[in-house]
């Protein structure tokens, strides 16, 4: 499961759609659309400033969401990555009703696994993707293994997006083996993957990867962007 994170409607709707199409035609299995939120506490400087810039130039979360329905995603799965307040503000049940046919899942960095029930209890039907991090305890991993969502998001580094990850570290492969012992779900590595070498290494230890920061850096230049996303596969 190889995927790319794209900041929705950044720098503008047209450029965003070009980048989106580039990811689809390159043949990725999934796309994560970032819906801008003004307080991106789990994001590093590159994504945080792209989001600030988008909001500053008038990008609306509501427009990004409305636009999801018009994207031609081919065979790829679509996920939304955003912060809890965006969904809360939209209306938890309403969001689910409006997008359950479009989205395969939702990644919310400020909703920990134990609070997924807060959404499901209010009638949310789109799967929330569980996280495993370097801090996760065995009991956390066991719980994540049986949660909804068609993959587990494995965060390979301590910290926020844009850090660098040591994909050869034994800690990472041990962790992934530990998760595999409890689940048949796919394990997708996020955070810190920036080039083909990293991507290949990630696929050796996990079942997939998602690239964020390194791609967002190029989002303003759709030609370069297109080359970059092809180069990773």
């Amino acid at each position: 499961m190889r995927g790319i994170y794209i900041v929705g409607n950044y720098p503008d709707r047209e450029s965003f759609v070009k980048c989106f199409d580039a990811v689809i035609s390159a043949g990725y299995e999934f796309v994560e659309i970032g819906v801008p939120f003004s307080e991106p506490v789990a994001d590093g400087p590159v994504i945080a400033s792209a989001v600030q810039e988008a909001l500053g130039s008038g990008v609306k979360a509501g427009d990004v969401l409305a636009g999801l329905k018009t994207l031609s995603k081919g065979k790829a799965k679509l996920y939304v990555m955003t912060y809890a307040n965006i969904i809360y503000n939209y209306g938890i049940k309403k969001f689910s009703d409006d997008f359950k046919d479009v989205l395969s899942g939702l990644i919310i960095p400020d909703v920990p696994n134990m609070l997924h029930s807060y959404f499901y209890d209010q009638g949310f039907e789109i799967p929330l993707i569980p996280f495993v991090t370097p801090e996760s305890r065995e009991e956390d991993i066991k719980k994540a293994a049986v949660m909804q969502g068609d993959f587990i998001y494995f965060i390979g580094i301590r910290g926020i997006t844009g850090g660098s990850v040591d994909l050869s570290s034994p800690e990472i492969s041990e962790r992934i083996q530990q998760i595999k012992a409890f689940t048949d779900k796919k394990i997708v590595m996020g955070f810190g993957i920036k080039d083909k070498t990293d991507a290949d290494k990630a696929l050796k230890v996990a079942d997939g990867f998602v690239v964020g920061t390194a791609a967002v850096k190029l989002q303003k230049n759709s030609a370069e962007y297109s080359e970059f996303v092809k180069s990773l596969l």
């Binding site: 801008p36 939120f37 003004s38 307080e39 991106p40 506490v41 789990a42 945080a48 600030q52 909001l55 609306k60 979360a61 509501g62 912060y83 809890a84 307040n85 965006i86 809360y88 503000n89 939209y90 960095p109 400020d110 909703v111 920990p112 696994n113 134990m114 609070l115 029930s117 807060y118 996280f131 495993v132 991090t133 370097p134 801090e135 996760s136 305890r137 956390d140 965060i155 301590r158 910290g159 926020i160 850090g163």
Partner: protein, 380 residues
Amino acid sequence: MKGFFGDFGGMFVPETLVPALEQLEREFNMLKDDPEFKKDLARYSTTYIGRPSPVYYASRMSEEYGVEIYLKREDLNHTGSHKINNTIAQALLTRYMGKKRIIAETGAGQHGVATATVAALFGLDCTVYMGAVDAARQKPNVDRMKLLGAKLELVHDGSKTLKDATNAAMRDWVKNVEDTHYIIGSVIGPHPFPEMVAHFQSVIGREARASFKEMGFLPDAVVACVGGGSNAIGIFKGFLDTSCELYGIEAGGLSDNEGDHAMAIGKGRAGILHGCVTYLVQTADGQVADVHSIAAGLDYPGIGPEHSYLHGTGRVTYDKVRDEDAVFAFRELARREGIVPAVESSHAIAYVLKNKDKFKGRKVLINLSGRGDKDSERDI
């Protein structure tokens, strides 16, 4: 659900922080009634902070306004505000948890100074995040933090105020959670912070209640300013079970227009920020809106979740005071009583002065959450 006050609260944080928050919850629940911990905390409270703080009858103001005005003197605490009550307690907790580094966010700088102070006291490494705009308007506190040996990280994101400092501190915590404790400075953030900080600040209300008991009567009303709401919850806890009217005063800023005020309850609606569901000043699109207050410590788009809950129950009345009225009260208390209040606390005082007809002849207790040395250099 755990960590909720009715519909508000929770633990909306990155998964990475969950083990640390659960550890904190466990240690807090264990230590808060532990005789050793309580003895330690009591000793630092008396010998270091200078507690108990007195309740002072402001006779000249009272005569002028026709209201019996009592002030709970948190301004007399070491470091100049109520913030030290919480930081000493959390620094002790940090020591019990075996962590070596503390971080904090600060708006007015009072919480930053209080955190830098306890770091020096306990030999902990300390980093304080502060918005660049706040650092410029609270320079005396910036200098104090440096003098105390804290690393100061100026934040240039967003509105360069308290919410941005909080974002930066959260990011630091996510990266360094193994050896770092984040001393949140108000009754905000993920569970267990709102409950824990309220517990450590409830000493204000307990002491005030004891002072009134000695005087042989209760106040008719208790008034406190609300940024995140820690000084307000702290004093309210002493009177929730009485018939006293309780008032929490938000920063009305310049006007009711978006960007001109910081009224989370007055002009906001429920949302999720910095770890909890609570009232939030936000745009129609769900973005956190810019807020403004002349008081850096009130310049925050959210409010503690317990306040959102208390608003819903009607037990506490939330209202506003504008910048100019706070400045008037700031000067008025200085001239009539020889006390320079923090511009944050001046909001609570101003509410009573502005509503003197409502409070006529009644006994009103105002929480003087801090002193105004930090503000007296400013042109207000």
